[in-house]
Subunit: 541 residues, 2 copies
């Protein structure tokens, strides 16, 4: 017999609504209509305007036939239009696919085709790449040019509409609808494919809502934070911060490029309280010329991921007025869902010990139900000894819906009821995890993932190359850079510069090797390249 | 054809877990095992201990046959045992029914019977009422005595176990399970019935998790808050704060009774940062004798509900170092889900205008999807003019599952897809709502709801009473007190004291009239008592 607790107590519209981050903006616009939502150059937009423009965008898209589960791609820097896309696109039921503006035309074309983009909103700055991508791809999206007044560089108009004109055709009072189901897709993010094509990671409204809220909790954000956009929004939807900030009616400070002068101006003039970014952002701040630096009075929270912050950087950041928190995540978990929770007792330790503790990736966000280091074969937890290597795995509501049109990869990623991150790590006796190596052969340079395999493919295409292997080389500025080990064919003579120039014809420039070592590539008896040996060699260079 | 976004992208254990507040404690104990979770008199408990004891409780309950959807009732003040119940009871799948320790035996007996409590955990202080309730009720719960070392007053042991002995029989490593469904019940809270019997409000894991998290966001709680338990946990599970505090690994400071000296000690010695309570708690703090007061350095956030904070109290609280936020809620919405969001621009207004703005109930929590003032007939929103009266209604994930074993009341409460609060209010042009009257004839005295109808019933039972009506009379200390208007039968002579003494034989003492006015009760032409006239008269007394 059913329990009384399960009888006549069903879900209904009064007591059940799909979780979604879209209601955060509606609430902010209703409660704080006059507060500044967006700062971009000299432009200021209130929450009432931000909401009205997002609804205009949703309405205009709907009028152009965009509906539920259609993909709208965006090739945009951190601009007001990009923020509007995070609300306007899902408000008409569509799915936002932000494109990494640093990628080359072939990968952009692949994404547009694979995601079946019906619309592409593209900043004029990227018109060269976009034009090439459109010529390469099969799909013919409606192209909308974003001509940002803050940008005065080169670039041409490619589309049928300019963004402002497109918005003008939309209704600011558009009656957007809640998602039918909180499991409905809200965003599509392509990972850098390590082997084969990039994979399209699908986010749903439930996960976006929960991670956005968890950011507020984890980052200790009080009301009305001022958030500086140093992290690209095309990375995991800016770790969901476009949605987090609305919960608190905070202010977004947009930034087209991560430049020291602009960052210090924002810190000094707009009272920035929070920012995120790869270690390169910290280096840029610290290594700024004296005339670029500005004094600021507030305590600023800096959230970094991609590589552990080195001791010297931590000390310098603290002295410069920043409190640094180390996060860890992947595209598949909505950005960061692991945090190096700082224990106040550790403040008393020597700086080197503190840095060692802070270098660990940490523990789960409250919104991530499970995080562990497991034996990838048995799925048994490894001993929490800080030594035994296993694969970092997650489970919970802020793990992706899966890979688009790729059931095989989705099943493999979720085998055994855990998301397999592909990262290798250890667990310490206190439960904190630390990454030790990446099983996916990823190099993270300036916050961007580079597949070593993709670079190796380019090297192998060179007619004089016999064998090649690419690993990460630690770099003070970029965190890591690709380091290539190349065996030439007998009698061949090629220079380092020639190899790099060759790669540039095939790869986006940030992916090209910074260092080329001509040497025999060490292999195991079965012929497998010993990457750990190469990493040791790269570190010693 | 199904969209690619809905194909092969189903829920699975890796990407979907039921929302529940139980994981918050598991995380706090894992990440901050040594941090102080609970302070109670001289007792200190770490998060590791709090978690282990909660698991012991779950395990011991399971060993005594308690399983999914069984009710475990608790008649406890704000003690460590009450906190453990909030985790230990649902960790074995059971439902926690906290009992209002101020109620009389008949209502306690009704709750035990209606909720079919299998276990009752009761503090020795309440043994007289509990003994009487057990003699009145049909159900025969397993009774566990809680003999709190901090309590040295009268009371006897009634049960089969003492709480500590019961826990000793449980396993601190008990493998508790996640709820099978986030819609599963976690708690049962009886409302004060205004007409007829109390109604059993059922909460689910999803709502408890979301409101607990939303408390953190709304109350701007940073890491490791120190929370003073001035709000009874038997009210809406302490507004879900027993769960909120674990998210941030904060410290609970228990308090058996709201006394000024103990509160100031906690503020000064434990660095309390947050507390909640009815206006009576503020009065108690402000009116404390000089020798009871203690200086404290930290800024303290005080969250109040039940009645709008008066201007003089707000000013005095601010001077005393408290920042007061006005919340509003009901049992049916997990406690508070409406907040008087303070607009910083209002800080510049004269104190009287600020108080008027702060007297409004406000806007929805981020976790409450809908809040409006609707015409109860048409469900159309009333004009946002600050004048037109309508019924305050809510919808969203922090609205109850429904009333236990009462489908008729559940359906009525959710008619038209909105939860009907029964409170009458207006909406201002800025969207803030304000209560104007209560359609349910509730008097809120010292944070407790009193049904005027229940008091009237008692009055009508007096042999000399011809007609009676009870309304709220504003009271500086209690917020409101019951004021009775009584028409005696011809020739009858009864004094005010006799009427009050009569009521005491039938009602819990806090429900008895504080004022009795002998006068003709004004009625409409159709014989309906004109309560608004009586309220005016009560205010003028």
């Amino acid at each position: 017999m059913a329990s009384a607790y399960d009888t006549d107590l069903d879900r209904n519209p009064a007591n059940f609504q799909p979780l979604t981050p879209l209601t955060f903006l509606e609430r902010a616009a209703s409660v704080f209509p006059e507060r500044t939502a967006i700062i971009h150059g000299t432009l200021r937009r209130s929450y009432a305007e931000f909401y009205a423009r997002s609804r205009r965008l949703a309405s205009a898209l709907a009028r152009h036939g965009v509906s539920k589960n259609d993909t709208v791609a965006a090739m945009l820097p951190n601009t007001p239009a990009m923020l509007e896309c995070h609300y306007g696109v899902p408000m008409c039921g569509a799915v936002l696919n932000t494109l990494n503006t640093r990628l080359d035309a072939a990968i952009i074309a692949f994404s547009l085709d694979h995601g079946e983009a019906k619309v592409l909103i593209a900043d004029r700055e990227f018109s060269r790449i976009v034009k090439e991508a459109l010529s390469l791809c099969k799909s013919k999206p409606l192209v909308i040019d974003y001509d940002d007044p803050v940008y005065d560089g080169p670039g041409e108009s490619l589309g049928s509409f300019e963004y402002e004109a497109f918005l003008a055709g939309g209704d600011p009072g558009y009656a957007w609808t809640m998602p039918a189901d909180e499991w409905d897709a809200i965003a599509l993010n392509y990972t850098s494919g390590t082997t084969g094509d990039p994979k399209g990671v699908v986010y749903h409204h439930r996960g976006a809502s929960l991670l956005a809220t968890s950011n507020v909790v984890t980052c200790g954000m009080g009301r009305h934070p001022v958030y500086l956009w140093t992290l690209p929004m095309f990375h995991c939807n800016g770790w969901c911060f476009p949605w987090s900030i609305s919960i608190l009616a905070g202010t977004h400070v947009c930034l087209r490029q991560v430049r020291a002068k602009a960052m210090y101006e924002a810190l000094a003039e707009h009272g920035v309280t929070h920012l995120c970014g790869a270690p390169i952002v910290m280096s840029t701040l610290l290594n700024a010329a004296p005339e670029e630096k500005r004094a600021f009075g507030q305590k600023v929270s800096f959230f970094t991921a991609a590589a552990p912050p080195p001791e010297a950087v931590l000390a310098a950041m603290q002295e410069a007025g920043f409190e640094v928190t180390h996060l860890y995540g992947l595209t598949e978990i909505y950005g960061p869902a692991v945090v190096n929770e700082w224990n106040r007792d550790w403040d008393a330790l020597p700086a080197a010990e503190q840095a060692a503790l802070k270098a660990r990736q940490g523990v789960r966000y409250p919104a991530l139900e499970g995080l562990d280091v497991l034996d990838p074969e048995t799925l048994e937890p490894v001993p929490a000894d800080g030594v035994t290597l296993g694969e970092v795995m997650m489970r919970g509501n802020v793990v992706m819906k899966g890979y688009l049109k790729n059931p095989k990869a989705t099943q493999a990623a979720f085998a055994g009821g855990w998301f397999h991150s592909g990262d290798l790590g250890v667990r310490y006796p206190d439960g904190y995890i630390q990454l030790k190596d990446r099983s996916k052969d990823i190099i993270i340079s300036g916050g961007e993932n580079i597949s070593s395999i993709e670079v190796e493919d380019a090297l192998y295409k060179h007619p004089q190359v016999q064998a090649a292997a690419v690993v990460a080389r630690p770099d003070a500025k970029w965190g890591e850079t690709p380091c290539a080990f190349v065996e030439l064919k007998p009698g061949a003579r090629v220079s380092e510069d020639e190899i790099i120039a060759w790669c540039r014809t095939l790869l986006a420039s940030f992916k090209c090797p910074r260092t080329v070592v001509f040497a025999e590539v060490p292999k195991t008896s079965t012929g497998k390249i010993q990457k750990f040996r190469l990493r040791e060699m790269a570190r010693a260079l």
